[in-house]
Assembly symmetry: C2
Homo-oligomer: 457 residues x 2
């Protein structure tokens, strides 16, 4: 068997930023690296072309009576900027204090390597394991998986006869408390570009006769939240459902209080939608956030300019039963209603993803229509986590979005067992991203046990 | 005599951006260029060291009974970014369609060259002209002239025995209508930096528990204007005086209507403080503008981050009788009062400048205590403009700020005759800055006549 940590270092060195065309070589490198690795542990590898970054389908077939698990992951990573905030270069992985540092170590190259290494190790020990496994790895997750729905439609027949999807692209609150994620928020993204004058103007010579586009953008932004923290878009909460009691009970079991979380974030005070504590707000409430804003002079010193343009990037996170395209239309309508007529503007839509919820077995009075194999997979995961981490997992929703999970459910009819592996301090999407090596080691043991138990159900 | 246009090209090639330390060589080059040029037309040149960029004092002495004119100018320029919006590189001057293009061509290298060339030409023809002339040129105007007050205090004795200051660092509405500026707005600048979490956060995993610093910044910005266009800071307008009738009458003579101005700006509608038309608003009303805003991800595509920091650069333009430091304190107090306690913030103060008004002779019922030489200088300028441009000048306030004009009045007791030379389409502080060569040529003739008339008064 290969050394998982050495292979992860190699994986991270491929600068696979999917959103930025200047990283094309890194994308190709990461794809070839992971395809070769899966080939080396006996998988039949197929590279599926898309309009942009290819998917990898790697299969271990077998008797059609064997359970069939799809393992999902992605080989692309977030942009690394701001580069100056990294202690070591983002694409030169380094191990310090039991952690591997680098862009993508936690999201998703480390967790994906955990699964590949677990499968490699298991099949080396049990070459005749009665289990079919398909790795389904994409290169556009950090772009919102634009090619994924088309891919699912194309491969629907072949993939939908699987029993479930198994993956690690979600978080856990601490190494002492594993979480199996049973809900993900949806997302809808757009950018608003506002233009005032057709050129930058001297703020002395012309200041006082026109609306500065920065003013227009900030007035729009300020109108989108109420003082009580709720989003101020008419109809925004219409489809939000009440949360079931078992979910509230499960959340209460979460150890580590709000004060520790506040310190981790490094904020003076929480600011949640009124009526929800921070842990509830992340899981049960939708949000509207500004991911970026820009306009005018941002360098050192001053430049007394009224800029021609200003922009803001907006994302909404959505909870179960909310429809991203409906929310997008409400957001568009609100922008149209509130933008003054002395500026011009353009809304540039970006990707969206529907929210997802799966109900684990034995947890609800109104059980979903669930396959026996899926239920067994949840039970196998529960037992394996209990065995390796010394404590059963919690079944919680998470604030993040993995839009393809909902797509898989819709197109293939498959639910997902989301075994969380990254920690809050792993700094996903931020400088100094890292992945804890002891979590990787224990994660491999859990993955091995889950697959072995499923094979022998 | 040298060729003024060729010399201007040479001047522009020195990349003298005073606010950015990476342009230090350009600052030295521009300083030496202009010092040598003044030496070549017979001036005794002194380079006055400051904490940052030196001043140049260049003198032509003479009998103490001769009138003494100080000619002011600056050899530093604004930053040139955004570079991608320039049609030709900002520091490679190029002549197209009767204009010279390049950063600083209009502000202030072209107008300054106009004065130097006029003096050179005049003294070549009349070497015994009974007039003392001192060029007083600074290199920190675009930074707010931080060293200038100290310089004035140091050279007070020598400079205060002059009669007036003559300069061209203001605008005219068109080549058909010269304006002698008799009022300038003051200015006060600062930047507000807001911090939420101590690091960038994933907007899915943590969205909903904290106030995004972009939200805090936009809510602050949106609170600073009322819907009627007035600034929403308590006490902001307390010291604003009513405008005299002669000034309103003078403004009515300004040709070229609001519609042409609207088209020039390229805006859909004006947005002024209610009760003021655009031409009044620029001259008679203070403003609060956002010169830059930034935070989070501003690149292509999306990055679902809650940034740690966001910032906004704010400037206020002030009218006669407003005190910049009082306005600064009101702005600070308003920020303190309105910033929520779930973020931290810092206000970084930048420079300020007091507003200035001079009353030309024969225009008011309540004449200021004015020297006879100054009154003659205004009359000489009036006659020369009438002669060269075929129409007398208008005496108007301007929206821009030249804070040193008020400093000169305060420390030296000298008023300024501000002979405007740049046009609205010259794009000051913006990409594709240019200066019209026919204006330069006629400007030289006016400057020659003014100095000759003053010498022979």
């Amino acid at each position: 068997m290969f050394d998982p940590v050495e292979k992860l270092k190699e994986f991270v060195r491929h600068e696979s930023v999917s959103t930025d065309p200047t990283y094309a070589a890194g994308m190709v490198g990461a794809k070839e690296f992971v395809a070769n690795l899966l080939g080396s542990i006996g998988f039949e590898v197929e590279v599926v072309k898309t309009d942009l970054h290819p998917l990898i389908l790697a299969s271990r077939g077998g008797d059609s009576s064997w359970p069939h698990v799809i393992i999902y992951g992605h080989y692309d990573v977030q942009p690394a900027d701001p580069l100056e905030l990294w202690d070591t270069p983002p694409f030169e992985p380094e191990i310090r204090d039991g952690r591997i540092y680098g862009r993508g170590t936690a999201d998703n190259k480390g967790p994906l390597m955990t699964h590949i290494a677990a499968v490699g190790s298991l099949l080396e020990k049990e070459p005749n394991l009665p289990l079919r496994i398909t790795f389904m790895l994409e290169g556009e997750e950090e772009m919102g998986s634009p090619s994924f729905p088309k891919f699912l439609a194309q491969y629907k027949e072949r993939l939908s006869e699987a029993d479930l999807v198994f993956l690690s692209d979600t978080g856990i609150p601490s190494e002492d408390q594993v979480v199996i994620t049973c809900g993900l928020r949806g997302v809808v993204l757009c950018e608003v570009q506002v233009t005032g004058s057709k050129r930058d103007l001297h703020s002395g010579l012309h200041g006082g006769v026109l609306r500065n586009p920065i003013q227009a953008v900030t007035e729009l932004c300020a109108s989108l939240h109420k003082p009580n923290g709720w989003v101020d878009i008419p109809g925004f909460y219409d489809d939000v459902l009440d949360v079931e009691q078992w979910e509230k009970d499960e959340l209460k079991k979460l150890e580590g209080g709000a004060e520790a979380y506040r310190k981790f974030l490094g904020i003076a005070k929480f600011h949640t939608a009124e009526g929800f504590d921070p842990f509830e707000a992340i899981r049960f409430m939708p949000t509207l956030e500004f991911n970026g804003i820009g306009g005018g002079y941002q360098g050192a010193g001053s430049k007394t300019v009224i800029p021609s343009k200003a922009m803001v990037k907006i994302s909404c996170r959505l909870v179960a039963n909310q429809n991203p395209e409906k929310i997008r239309q409400l957001l568009h309508q609100t922008i149209r209603d509130r933008m003054p007529d002395d500026v011009t503007y353009e809304i540039i839509d970006d990707h969206s993803g529907v929210p997802y919820v799966v109900v684990p077995p034995d947890r609800t009075n109104t059980p979903a229509d669930q396959s026996a194999v899926l239920a067994d997979a949840f039970r196998a995961a529960d037992a394996a986590v209990n065995d390796v981490f010394g404590k059963p997992p919690l079944y919680l929703r998470e604030g993040g979005s993995v839009p393809i999970i909902a797509d898989i459910k819709k197109v293939l009819g498959l639910d997902s067992v989301m075994f969380g592996l990254f920690l809050p301090e792993d700094n996903l999407h931020a400088p100094n991203e890292s992945f804890k090596l002891s979590v990787m080691e224990r994660g491999m043991q859990v993955c091995e046990q889950v697959l072995r138990r499923l094979a022998n159900r």
